[in-house]
């Protein structure tokens, strides 16, 4: 039988749905007795000092309770209670599975991520298993997903982080399905499993997608520069910025993606259908964004409206590349002049570095076309040397001047760029 901590939480409640549907037996471990008296229950609290014990028929323990929800929470309290559970599980040969988070491996950690990371290493040290989901969404409006959805549905403007973090997502039903699948498999040598779709999605696109699924029709963006979030995160101090959710946003920014190798290794026993469906539903808009991006970048390179086959080639190739997110720039700035200034400036932000890489790529695609021949080869007639010298002189002067302007105005414009 399976014992579960944190079953009343966002993920836990969905896990119970699946266990019920499959008629699997479980024992709930929580502070309060469930309303349904038919359920098997045992008292469990992080703050309790009682010895941790379970009935003899328990064969696996899924630990998904988050100590941070306790009233008198301290990281040490959670760590010592988890150690106690792990020792007990080991002595009774009970399989121990800990539900962590992909953000535990962010380079900029919140208190939440910090404690997850510490517990993870303890679990692995004591031969337990770790499940590390990406950003969990879908199902009931609870957890971080619920809070985000509430904000996007009730506020007149939708936050648009500049630059936007990329996230790996997992639908809560898929996550719980995957947990059940993992429980049905024998314990594996590799005791860490990353659960999520290996498809980096822009956080801004994600917010828009979930609010559109929930029925929102109008999307007015409220640009929030990440450097401002970083400033307040430092200025408010760890505790206050944790409460305000700023450290979670910073952590999102520095959470590593699930590696392609990890994804390929685990794909066979993960359930991903709902997440894939979500991506497919909103992917069309991602393709549209890439086509707009192609029109914007290739138009700038070719000095003319690029033919549709160039746009399609660009969008398809970017989609197949590892960093398939598109670049966002407010429409009022989508002029060749603004782009040229950003292009000529020293690339300081991740989004402007990506823009530079994409411009190089777009150059290669544009060149391999008849429009490209006009731009890249120019005239096939010999020019008068004086005219050629003048063109070279004027061209170099313009390029130097643009670089000077780029180093001042272009750097400022970079702040409006983000990956979308």
């Amino acid at each position: 039988m399976l014992a579960i901590t944190g079953a009343s939480g966002y993920i836990g409640s969905h896990l119970l749905d699946i266990l019920d549907a499959q008629n699997l037996e479980y024992l709930l471990l929580s502070r309060e007795r469930p309303l349904d008296s038919g359920l098997r229950w045992r008292y469990f609290d992080f703050e309790s000092e009682d010895n941790f014990t379970l009935s003899n028929d328990v064969t696996a323990l899924v630990h998904m309770a988050c100590g941070a929800n306790s009233r008198n929470y301290t990281p040490n309290l959670e760590l010592s209670r988890t150690r106690q559970m792990l020792n007990y599980a080991k002595s009774k040969k009970i399989r121990f599975i800990y539900l962590s988070s992909q953000s535990a491996h962010a380079s900029k950690k919140s208190i939440y991520a910090e404690s997850k990371k510490e517990i993870e290493s303890l679990v692995l040290q004591k031969e337990g298993e770790v499940i590390r989901p990406g950003f969990v969404f879908g199902g009931r409006k609870a957890g971080l997903y619920g809070s985000l959805l509430r904000i996007t549905l009730t506020q007149p403007l939708i936050p648009k982080f500049v630059p936007s973090p990329s996230i790996d997502i997992i639908d809560v039903h898929d996550l719980c399905g995957s947990i059940v699948n993992i429980l049905e498999l024998p314990a594996r040598k590799e005791r860490e499993v990353a659960v999520g779709l290996n498809f980096p999605l822009g956080f801004n696109s994600f917010l828009r997608a979930i609010s559109s699924d929930a029925g929102r029709k109008v999307f007015l963006p409220l640009p929030i520069p990440i450097f401002a979030v970083r400033f307040f995160n430092i200025a408010l101090g760890t505790k206050l910025s944790d409460k305000a959710g700023l450290s979670r946003i910073m952590a999102l920014h520095s959470t590593p993606s699930i590696s392609k190798a990890d994804f390929a290794k685990n794909k066979s026993f993960l359930t991903l259908s709902r997440t894939e469906c979500f991506i497919q539903r909103h992917d069309a808009s991602q393709r549209r964004k890439l086509l707009f991006e192609a029109k914007w970048l290739c138009g700038y390179i070719l000095d003319e409206l690029p033919p549709i086959h160039i746009l399609k080639t660009y969008a398809r190739s970017v989609e197949a590349s590892e960093r398939s997110v598109s670049i966002y720039m407010p429409s009022f700035m989508r002029t060749n002049l603004a782009l040229m200034l950003v292009d000529a400036s020293p690339k300081l932000m991740p989004a402007s570095k990506m823009l530079s890489a994409k411009l190089q790529f777009a150059s290669i695609i544009c060149e391999a076309s008849t429009s490209g021949a006009r731009k890249f080869i120019g005239s096939t007639k010999r020019q008068c040397p004086i005219k050629a010298i003048t063109i070279l002189f004027v061209g170099t002067s313009k390029a130097v001047l643009t670089s000077i302007l780029g180093a001042t105005v272009g750097i400022f414009l970079q702040l409006f760029l983000s990956n979308d």
């Binding site: 190089q360 120019g378 670089s403």
Partner: protein
């Protein structure tokens, strides 16, 4: 399991050259290649007409799986053409990991020669002492030269350096910039010959007169994407010829040799995998011509040498842009896009550097504009103006042993690690200075910052893992490519080169393969 007289693994320049003498003497030969016949067809027409008129030009210019990261790698534009799939398959099949080294191999009929710059040069007699009797090598050089067709001139300053070629076809016509450099050089040297810097016509495996199924070069300018005329030699062109020879040829493509072993009575066996599954073949002799990386892997596996580092020779190389201001305003015209002129420059220690100059007509402008420090659009305008009055150069130094190592890892992958020593980098810097001074005398300016040192391996010039050795030493080969420790297994590709000269070495690999085949036949007859 069928018995063959000879089994040859690989259809690159070495494999094909080894097969000719064997089939001519009526032997039963199995020729195996892991790749498929190259399906990519070169563009039809001349470069400028295609560029301005072909709406589907992307299909012959760019590979279908081009990704954003391909644009940012500083490697040859060839790696972005449809032919690049040859490399990608090789890396997947051979499980190669590398540090500081671009490990490429060709998994297609014709091998790496599909990317060959077609440079041809003979080694001097003093350098041929490792290859048996120099007269045998010179005989083989003559045979190969007749078969592949070589063009160039026999009377300029580089003629002696390239070696005397009795049957040279006329050289490919020079473009305007190269012609001006060549004329100025010849004018100057009459008054003041300079042994430190010599310029001459390139010696190439490119025909300028029609022969059999090949047509002479007519300056289409599409050389980078394949030659519709087949004027540039490729071993794949010779497969049909081989089939018509007296001997009995069995030709297997798409057959990846997983391992070799020495069976009973010293009969070598190859274990290969193709679409139908696993099959083994054995023969009296096994000739390995799978390319330096491929052959080394098979031999290391057979010898059971795990994590034993072998030296891998790799030429230090650089590329640069030469601008001829007096040609400013010239337009792009269709001209031969491979080496038109070649040069030899001596360093202070008398070491020679060898390089060639290419027309920029067929080269993508974005390769240059993407390196300029200005905005993309303005960089394209500048690059376009400068490139039509420029030529591109590459240059090689002799490989320095001990800079690159190759080993077989326990998981059966190949690991290559490489670095460029301070000495090598210093030599390349001195070379840059020497070239700048000498080309300036000819009226061409070496564009500052255009001198780019290539990552080891990116030029596909590597060899020497199992060098010929006069004495029997482990991890070397006899003069006939025989692997010490595995009877009747001979390597004939670049792996056996005892040194990697600065000058083009593919012709030497071909001649050596031909020589080894003849020697093996002689021994069998005795």
């Amino acid at each position: 399991m069928t018995d063959f007289d000879f089994i040859i693994v690989g259809t690159g320049p070495a494999g094909i050259s080894a097969a000719f003498p064997l089939l001519e003497s009526g032997k039963k030969v199995l020729l195996v290649d892991a790749g498929d016949e190259v399906s990519h067809s070169p563009p039809e027409g001349n470069y400028t007409a295609l560029r301005f008129g072909d709406n589907d030009q992307r299909k012959w210019q760019l590979k279908s799986n081009l990704s954003v990261s391909d644009a940012n790698r500083s490697v040859s534009p060839k790696f972005r053409t449809p032919m690049a799939s040859v490399f990608e398959k090789f890396q997947q099949k051979y499980a190669i990991s590398s540090e500081g080294f671009s490990a490429f191999g060709g998994l297609a009929v014709g091998g790496l020669a599909n990317f060959w710059g077609a440079g041809v040069a003979r080694l001097e007699n003093s350098q041929l002492q490792f290859f048996g009797n120099p007269s045998e090598m010179n005989f083989s050089y003559d045979i190969i030269a007749r078969r592949i067709g070589i063009s160039g001139v026999n009377d300029d300053d580089l003629a002696v350096y390239f070696g005397n070629e009795p049957q040279l076809e006329p050289a490919v016509p020079l473009g305007k910039i190269s012609k001006s450099l060549y004329e100025k050089y010849n004018k100057k040297r009459k008054h003041r010959p300079d042994a430190e810097f010599m310029l001459g016509r390139s010696r190439l495996a490119v025909i300028t007169k029609d022969r059999e199924h090949r047509k002479g070069c007519n300056n289409l300018g599409t050389c980078l994407w394949g030659c519709k005329n087949s004027a540039i030699y490729s071993p794949a062109q010779d497969i049909e010829k081989l089939k018509k020879k007296k001997g009995n040829l069995t030709f297997l493509t798409g057959a990846y040799v997983e391992s070799i072993e020495c069976g009973t009575s010293n009969k070598p066996t190859i274990n290969l995998k193709n679409a139908n599954g696993h099959i083994s073949f054995s023969g009296k002799k096994l000739i390995l011509a799978a390319g330096t990386l491929g052959s080394s892997k098979l031999v290391l596996q057979a010898l059971g040498k795990i994590q034993t580092p072998l030296q891998l020779l790799s030429n230090p190389t650089a590329a640069f842009l030469l601008w001829s201001p007096k040609h400013l305003g010239y337009s792009k015209v269709n001209e031969f896009a491979m080496g038109q002129l070649s040069f030899v420059a001596k360093l202070d220690n008398k070491e020679a550097a060898f390089g060639s100059l290419f027309s920029t007509t067929g080269l993508p402008v974005s390769d240059f504009s993407n390196r300029l420090p200005f905005s993309t659009s303005q960089s394209i305008n500048l690059a376009r103006t400068i490139l039509s009055s420029s030529v591109v150069g590459n240059v090689f130094l002799e490989a320095r042993p001990s800079e690159t190592k190759l080993s077989l890892e326990p998981d059966a992958s190949i690991k290559v690690t490489s670095f460029r020593s301070a000495n090598t980098l210093n030599d390349l810097r001195k070379l840059k200075k020497r070239l700048r001074v000498n080309f300036l005398k000819l009226g061409a300016l070496l564009i500052p910052n255009s001198f780019t040192i290539g990552e080891p391996g990116s030029d596909l010039h590597y060899s020497g893992t199992f060098p010929h050795s006069k004495k029997e030493r482990p991890l070397t080969t006899s003069e006939n490519g025989g692997v010490f420790g595995i009877p009747n297994v001979h390597i004939v590709d670049g792996s056996v080169l005892p040194f990697l000269p600065e000058k083009s070495h593919t012709f030497t690999i071909m001649a050596n393969a031909d020589r080894i085949s003849r020697q093996l036949l002689k021994k069998q007859d005795n």
